[in-house]
Subunit: 204 residues, 2 copies
């Protein structure tokens, strides 16, 4: 049908990689279209502008991430026997999975960049596509941590998010060693994150 679907997808994939490497301003459309093997004008034809392309790069991955997080949370929401670790797992593992399939761990780096860019339009876009998921998780955390005030809870979720973003985007000193498979490394990352975050959330 739409013979341009391939072109659009190629642009999106190349854009995700280049934005992660060079940033939104640092990656030019000429580098981007050359990497994708398409004509320079194709970006403006299919996406209207570079800014709209940036939004679509986010949308493609965030739709995945949100759906998976909510699906994972659904199994635990409101249940008596749910633990803090269960909810953290539903929050963390889809993000780690996302950075694994989809062609590489690039998107979380793009996301971390977006946080750092402090672009108001982009933040609003992220809030619109992200807000309801965060609210659901916050409600579940509140249920499992009844001793925390609302302010204290917001603070701690914020700090968990910081630790998550940091770890997932590969900022840190921790790198996968060659004798550890990527799946194993991902599992270890998830376990470290969940253990750390759960303890931080439960802090007296």
């Amino acid at each position: 049908m739409n013979s341009s679907a391939s072109t659009k997808e190629r642009i999106l994939t190349a854009a995700e990689a280049l934005f992660a490497q060079r940033g939104f301003e640092g990656a030019s459309l000429r580098q981007l279209t050359a990497a994708a093997g398409v004509n320079l004008a194709a970006v403006n034809y299919h996406f209207g502008s570079k800014d709209h392309l940036v939004e679509q790069v986010f949308k493609r991955r965030l739709d995945q991430l949100n759906a998976r997080r909510l699906a994972a949370l659904k199994h635990f929401a409101g249940l008596q026997e749910t633990t803090l670790e269960d909810v953290l797992s539903a929050f963390i593992r889809p993000a780690l999975d996302l950075s694994h399939d989809g062609g590489g761990g690039l998107f979380m780096r793009v996301l971390a960049r977006a946080f750092a860019e402090h672009d108001d339009d982009l933040r609003k876009f992220l809030s619109d596509n992200y807000g309801h998921v965060m609210r659901q998780f916050t409600a579940e955390f509140a249920r499992l941590l009844p001793g925390l005030s609302k302010e204290e809870l917001y603070w701690r979720i914020d700090l968990v998010t910081g630790a998550l973003t940091h770890a997932m985007s590969g900022f840190g000193i921790i790198q996968r060693k060659n004798d550890v498979s990527e799946i194993t490394h991902r599992e270890q990352t998830a376990e470290h994150l969940i253990r750390f975050a759960a303890a931080g959330l439960r802090a007296p």
Copy 2:
């Protein structure tokens, strides 16, 4: 003496603010020099290039931050009665102070950007100016958390750093309210961070 000291300082201050707002690539030398009230050519005259200017922006603040952190740590290093919270305080409070004086909470945002940019040269520069401080703190954490393996300790320090950077750069949802003074807010931030990080580091 050096009548250009004023010009250099004005450039550095304006650069710090603009880099925080627009990023290293997004802030042009024309915006920068206009904000500083100096001639366009002054940047290349005093700093050689834009890249060198970026490095100097970091150096000016990191030298402060490193000195204050080490001075704060010195009071606790190796002492029997030192607590985890003491060391975390020595790590966290100088950073919060830095973002307070020096004309605004802009530098930590610049630092968070630098992490996100993944620029190898800049990361090497940061590592060279930062590494020995991190090693001293790591040694102290290891002393106070003898139950942790080296790998586990590295992981947790990495996660603490992520939470710290996130909170200090003002990413999160937490904003200072108008009825709270900045000093009070800074103190609350430090307490939340220390409580959360200490619990995360002590996780079973």
